[in-house]
Amino acid sequence: MSSARPYLRPVEPLWWAHPPYLAYTLREATGLAVAGYALVLLAGLISLARGGAAYEAWLNFLKSPWSLALHLLFLIGMIAHVWTWFQIMPKTMPRLAIGSRILPQRWITIAGLAVAAASFIIILLVAVWMQP
């Protein structure tokens, strides 16, 4: 094999749009929901700094059907992120052993999802408690 002209296996350009890679692409696409939601919050923060009128405009945007549809997509993306995040977690951390037994990966996933569900409920309760 020549180092000047290494053999490159031809790669189908849309490989990421077909199974089994599609699952990977969809998981990575949840990053768009996470970053997109951060952009909405940043827009709200900037309008807050600019004063009452600008902030009202941002609140009116939040009430628009476009924003509600966008946030529904964000919510779907976030839930997919939670699900996949805790599927990955046991694969990216060192193996946990209790005594001589190795903790099954599934248990780590279940524990992570349980903590996420508890956190979801607590944040909603705090929001209800903080109502005007």
Partner: protein
């Protein structure tokens, strides 16, 4: 041997991913769906005076900076790796685009929080 810079981006990616996994669905539901439609929450939940008081409080500032910046860095890492694997553009161009945007917007968030004041 030249050391990879990748681990530096894994920390905010992991921190943002964990924060999003624990708070993301609830935050989107509250600020994006429940508060704007007045479903389950009072209509004035995101009112200017309340949002101002939250953004002026040091803990509120920390929450806003943490959520906005870490969510951005998490998304930037995923978008970067996916676009790189799709061969959309060169590696360094994509790194500058994704991490550069996250860095610039982190700076904007911090400056905006300072402008809002205490």
């Amino acid at each position: 041997m030249k050391r990879s810079v990748a681990p530096w981006f894994w920390l905010p990616f992991g921190a943002g991913g964990m924060l999003a996994a624990l708070t993301g669905p609830a935050l989107v539901l509250i600020t994006g769906l429940m508060a704007p439609t007045g479903t389950g929450l009072a209509p004035g939940f995101l009112a200017f005076a309340r949002a101002s008081a939250f953004a002026r409080h040091p803990l509120g500032k920390l929450i806003l900076l943490g959520v906005i910046a870490l969510f951005l860095w998490h998304g930037a890492e995923r978008i970067y790796l996916t676009l790189r694997d799709m061969h959309v553009a060169g590696k360094s161009a994509l790194m500058w685009m994704c991490y550069g945007t996250a860095g610039a917007l982190t700076f904007v968030t911090a400056v905006t929080l300072l402008i809002i004041g205490f």
